[in-house]
């Protein structure tokens, strides 16, 4: 479950503009719908599941990064997308800082191992300051795709 294994490249959002956590989540899930990886009728349920998960504890783990996620019956395999927020977004992060990189993950109910490995790999990648700094500089989907393809361990 490396980043390249599950990130849906057609759904990457290099210039995410949102005022709230909810808005950002909606944009990212919608991007997965547009990429054909999430069924349209499931959109609201998935958004609700992700936001509900946030009420149990923020996924803004600090360092300008958030990993909102949920399990949902409508996905057969783990999928995700990445949003880059140039102006930063309040995410109730543990360190109080705004997030610039959001990695949204939707996993099937019956594959907890995949989910854990995805979180492990996402965290590992996002610990690399240089990688995060390069992510934040991406302004197009192509640039993001290239960066993901070439990232060490991705």
């Amino acid at each position: 479950m490396r980043l390249v294994d599950f990130v849906v490249k057609d759904s990457l959002v290099p210039d995410l503009r949102a005022e709230t956590k909810e808005e950002a989540v909606r944009i990212l899930v919608n991007s997965l719908v547009d990429a054909g990886r999430v069924q349209g009728p499931e959109f609201e349920n998935i958004v609700r599941a992700i936001l509900k998960r946030e009420t149990l504890g923020t996924t803004g783990i600090g360092g300008g990064v958030a990993i909102p996620h949920a399990r949902h019956t409508s996905v057969e395999r783990l999928i995700g997308t990445i949003g880059i927020v140039p102006s930063g977004l309040g995410f109730d992060s543990k360190d109080g800082k705004p997030v610039h990189v959001i990695v949204l993950i939707i996993s099937p109910h019956d594959r907890p191992g995949d989910h854990l490995r995805a979180l492990e790999n996402v965290s590992s990648a996002l610990r690399r300051e240089e990688f995060v700094s390069q992510l934040k500089k991406c302004t197009t989907r192509d640039q993001l795709e290239q960066l993901l393809d070439n990232a060490p361990g991705s």
Binding site: G57, I61, P112, H115, L119, S123
Partner: protein, 91 residues
Amino acid sequence: MLSRNVQVGHPLGFHMRPKAVFAETANRFQSDIQVSWEGRVINGKSMWDLMLVGATHGAQMILEANGPDAEEALTALAMVIETDKLPGDLD
């Protein structure tokens, strides 16, 4: 230093919510807390570092605590790892 072997009890493994509970719990104690898992030694007080511990249900870990309240810390933290249910679990 005290240590305790624990086994991940939650059916979803040591996912993000137990990591958050673990880090919050660990930070209530004065003792230094470390988690050893698959050859990695992780600072148990850092959620950021705990994110690297992708331990599945049933995985073994070693908790270590070093300080005046080490015993209490290990007892509390072992419970966090070994519980099969967290507040907010739906099923």
